[in-house]
Subunit: 155 residues, 2 copies
DNA sequence: GTAAAACCTCAACCTTAGTTGAGGTCAAGC
DNA sequence: GCTTGACCTCAACTAAGGTTGAGGTTTTAC
């Protein structure tokens, strides 16, 4: 029979334990490691062992993903955190504030889009000429002139 | 020298013209056609010709995409529109209202996430035990019990 | 009537975020 | 000391939403 449910020796966690406790598949943890989002130590037998802090790190990754931030950006943001010691509350907090700002921006853009869609229910058209939602000539011709109102080119 | 800038005979548009006027690449229009989002007639020489209405249709597709709706769903929604005649204002309007509702839902979820992130700046932690943002045990154990507050499983 | 732009199809490739499977190793319990 | 589950690597596959290129045809303008 296999190993019981309690953690690996030394307070570190095996990949399977991290998977169970974080709700993320083992394959995903491997994948995150290839992307530099998490790191692991290895046993003599080449098996991954994670410090407990990885659980928080994975939690942060998942929350950030829900805000719509791509993994590459999350990885970049996480490099601001210390390697060896556990990050302080303030360090996590700074990260949260960054992502909150991005989230606010996304919300702002979606809200604007919704409101314009609202107006366009009035005209029922999405007219190419007059609708603020869609005037491709402007959007194309004036690279960044006035047609950046919308989400389209804003990323 | 090639063709001038004015439309094809008969008031229909070539794929290049649609691309120019809609701001969408020719390859994308081909792609949309394979996905059933737009349709074309063919000349004797097998070249695509679009009725002018395609511009509005493409505009609608692009707007819907900005709300985050996948192409397959957009395609489905567009099947509610008539094939032959141009859709009425009311028909476009109904579509807008549907998408507006989805947009509202997305905004609601992102706002909730932001507010929870807000609270968590207070605790600076994203704690696995206490933070509403992240309690994977609950989320996993109780498939749909109470942990569907967040975006994660909500789609 | 010919050059060149624009068009055609089809297959292959790209990115993001993973999952799946093959083939082989490690470790825990009896 | 052997079985069995957990682990390892690496390659291939998935899905969405396209883009790129090869090889060939049509249109248009002069």
């Amino acid at each position: 029979m296999p190993k019981s449910d309690f953690p690996c020796a030394g307070g570190t966690l095996s990949v399977g334990e991290v998977a169970k406790r974080s709700g993320v598949a083992v394959s995903t943890l491997h994948f995150y490691e290839t992307r530099g989002l998490i790191r692991s130590l290895r046993t003599e037998g080449n098996q991954r062992r994670y410090p407990r802090g990885v659980l928080r790190r994975v939690a942060v990754i998942k929350v950030a993903q829900r805000t719509g931030i791509p993994l590459a950006s999350i990885q970049e943001a996480l490099t601001t955190l210390p390697d060896s010691r556990a990050p302080t509350a303030e360090e996590w907090s700074a990260l949260s504030r960054t992502w909150q700002a991005e989230l606010n921006e996304r919300i702002r853009r979606l809200t604007q889009l919704r409101d314009q869609l609202d107006d366009c229910i009035g005209c029922g058209c999405l007219s190419l000429k007059t609708c603020p939602l869609r005037n491709p000539q402007d959007a194309l011709g004036a690279q960044g002139a006035g047609a950046r109102l919308l989400e389209a080119n804003a990323d």
